[in-house]
Symmetry: C2
Subunit: 491 residues, 2 copies
């Protein structure tokens, strides 16, 4: 692969001087257009040490408007990053719409380096790369243009360049011991990089291999690629037919996991109180153990309005120390959230080690309310299942216990509760116009929920449907499931 | 002071039961009103260990809507927090408008504890407390209601309660060794807490001393205080006369620091290139040393449009590695930013140790464009000088070198440059309608700038006015000042 970029591409200084003003003009132009578009751009600068990556980025910042660019270096991870899933550090700095992010190091770095230094095997590498492909596909779908550059130097050139840098008084600091360590691993590094590039060289996020020997050549090729790709992406956005967003009204199957729930199960007040005390104490104990072990938990609560999500959440909270948990109530996204891919607003709330986040409604809104009400396009919610699965798998792998509760009442019970809320003064805050409106769409929501449970439930990331006609029974069922999941994991 | 809350206040269980439903109703009511108001609320829960703080917060979360509340515990500071000014950890979690934040531990904790364990002296403590008063005054001015509770237990009660907790199988974990360490320091802890409370017991953020012996009593008193204070604050907001926001047109003095600048100073291209090379190399070297020493830098650029801020910034950047700096271009605030006190959107960009943040326009917008254009009330910009000084002092104390550049051209030169921009294609992006409009307000801006320099410049946090009619001279002046500040600090 790399032989195709060891062919002696050069550009004369005269030609460079001729092209430069036009290129700068074009880049500023396209950046101006970007600023008011729904697109964002990530430029990944990878490749050999000594290939002029730093120089290139400094040049980009001087040719373009540095104020619209965020440079991210991922060498100095913080403990807040270490205590969350690997991709969190990238999610948190995804450029919002209108901006360009330049990444020194990226989601490729750790998988490649780990493999080079034998901290992982080929299977690990491939799994990580497949994750990346999924991630980049999501970015493409979410209007994030990902431009991946690989600056290549032959081994001889690399050694020559590092030596030259070392001699230059102003540049010698650029050369570190680890650079030389990499030179020694040159062949292996390139073999593994090649594997990574091949496996992630997709249509939606292709790699651009750049012969980095000649500074004029590499500069113009990279900037031209950026310009052309941005122009094309902006053009494509403009020409895209308006998204069709319309309510979806799927019909539920007669026999389904929610209809099958046994809604006759109840607990007397006495049983309830006894069980509550028991599980409260158990969860309290286990949650402290969770913290000691540095694990975390994410509890997701979904279900029709008035199904008792709030009440169930409160019972779980009553077992916990307020300093350990956070309740995230999912409401309309802020404009910063809207300027990022859909899952961004959930990534930002992921618990650190030892913490518990409770989501009152969640990322599943995409395949429930947004689908049914037509708040997003069919393409958006259809791809959401896969994106959500990838997301939750990352949580699980990083030591977050994920439990997803679906609290289900019958429609008759829901009506009862709406009536009740209208009369109990201190419960009034929970009822809104929307509650009544959604009632009409009961069937569509049930069908969407069943599809969601089918497509996103798994042994490791289970959906736990709870018959919720009896509040006592529902609350204890939730407590029991939380206790069991903690026990299973902590034993 | 504390004797007034060792008087045996109690509330019977029967009375509590009678009050509870009303209180819950009222709290939910007032929280609902809060949610749609421009107010936010911080509840600080301080006081003795074993006084039931955790219990109280758990109760608050169960009586109110936990989804509108963020509980913050400040015991587990992260390296991202440690690498920034002390108050950063609080700023980052200030509740946005409509929400309630409950703080376990607060900006009081470290000053008090440091004094108890003799890591600081009385003067340090008082200085920290005065800072807090300033901070809380700012919060009050920014519609953040701060409710400070001090749950008090007599020494005997504290020992009794800790012993009782220790015996209870579900509660014993609440008692740690450090709790007993505090009991031993009871007298000293109380003496110092008393000092802290007295000094920070202001009209805009008073302390509420609560006798914590009796659970019914302390619960009702605290919840009642919260309810009443929130009701009063919301009422006051509603009755507040509409803010008068009108453009301000101050007149500059004939002789002032900007008019006094010698605009005849120039550098030939040759001199410029030589100096640029020299300072670029020096700044590059010093910036690496800055990183090694774990210090940081914030460079602020202000000045009329077309004064050459962008060009000067680019020259500074050319000396730096792109991974070390970040350029923050201050534009319209996002809705998350608007939901927080004014300085919040600058706090969030403060550099970590070793990093450099360049602000292209800054928090000084408040006393410049917002003042002149009437984007905020006169009260807002008038108090901004003091708030900004307090802000920058904290940066300086935490090891951030702060330099503030004012680039000044003559109005004639500005006109020239506007014309030039219209004709040079790749400079066009910098010119907007606003540039022309602002030109008319030259005098008002000059007067505002002079007042700003007078009120916010100091030896440690200097304003550096730069005569900018000659771009070469201006750029080198900036480079020179950056180099000198780094040298002075790093020598």
């Amino acid at each position: 692969m790399f032989e195709s970029v060891e062919v002696g591409n050069r550009l004369s200084k005269a030609a460079f001087k001729r092209i430069e003003p036009h290129m700068r003009h074009d880049l500023l132009d396209v950046q101006k257009e970007l600023a008011v578009s729904p697109l964002s751009v990530i430029v990944i600068v990878g490749g050999a040490e000594g290939a002029g990556k730093g120089e290139l980025v400094n040049l980009l910042l001087s040719w373009m408007d540095a104020r619209g660019i965020d440079v991210q270096a991922f060498w100095d991870e913080t403990d807040e990053e270490r205590e969350r899933p690997f991709m969190w550090r990238f999610w948190r700095v995804l450029p919002p719409t209108g901006r360009l992010g330049i990444f020194f190091g990226s989601w490729y770095t750790a998988p490649i380096i780990d493999r080079v230094f034998n901290r992982s095997d080929d299977a690990d590498l491939d799994r990580a790369l497949d994750r990346i492909v999924e991630f980049e596909r999501m970015l493409a779908d979410e209007n994030v243009l990902v431009l991946k550059f690989w600056l290549h130097l032959s081994q001889d050139s690399q050694i020559k360049r590092l030596k030259k840098l070392e001699k230059h008084p102003d540049e010698s600091w650029r050369v570190s011991k680890s650079d030389w360590k990499f030179v020694k691993k040159y062949k292996k590094f390139h073999r593994i990089s090649e594997r990574a590039i091949r496996r992630t060289n997709t249509a939606f996020a292709p790699w651009h291999l750049i012969e980095a020997e000649d500074v004029q050549y590499r500069t113009i090729v990279v900037t031209r690629t950026i310009r052309n790709a941005m122009q094309a992406a902006l053009e494509a956005l403009k020409n895209r037919p308006a998204e069709e967003r319309r309510p979806d009204m799927p019909k539920p199957k007669k026999f389904n996991v929610l209809e099958n729930l046994d809604q006759t199960q109840t607990l007397t007040e006495e049983e309830y109180e006894a069980q509550l005390t028991k599980y409260r104490s158990r969860i309290g104990f286990l949650a402290r153990k969770l913290r000691e072990k540095g694990l975390s938990m994410a509890l997701v609560f979904e279900g029709p309005d008035a199904a008792g999500k709030g009440g169930a959440i409160r019972r779980v909270l009553s077992a916990l120390d307020a300093r350990q948990y956070r309740v995230v109530s999912v409401a309309a996204p802020t404009d910063e959230e809207k300027a990022h891919p859909y899952l961004w607003r959930f990534w930002r709330h992921l618990p650190r080690r030892g913490k518990i986040t409770i989501f009152d409604r969640s990322w599943y809104g995409r395949v429930l309310v947004e689908r049914i009400e037509g708040f997003c396009s069919p393409e958006d919610w259809k791809r959401a299942y896969g994106e959500i699965n990838a997301f939750e798998e990352q949580l699980a792998e990083s030591g977050i216990i994920v439990l997803k509760f679906w609290l289900q009442t019958t429609p008759e019970e829901q009506i009862e509760r709406f009536r009740d809320r209208q009369t109990t003064p201190y419960k009034q805050y929970k009822i809104t116009e929307e509650d009544w409106r959604n009632r009409d769409k009961w069937n569509a929501y049930e069908a969407a929920a069943c599809e969601m449970i089918e497509k996103t439930g798994s042994d490791a990331l289970p959906w736990i449907p709870i018959p919720a006609n009896d509040k006592n029974f529902a609350r204890i069922s939730v407590m029991k499931a939380v206790a069991k999941a903690l026990e299973d994991r902590l034993k």
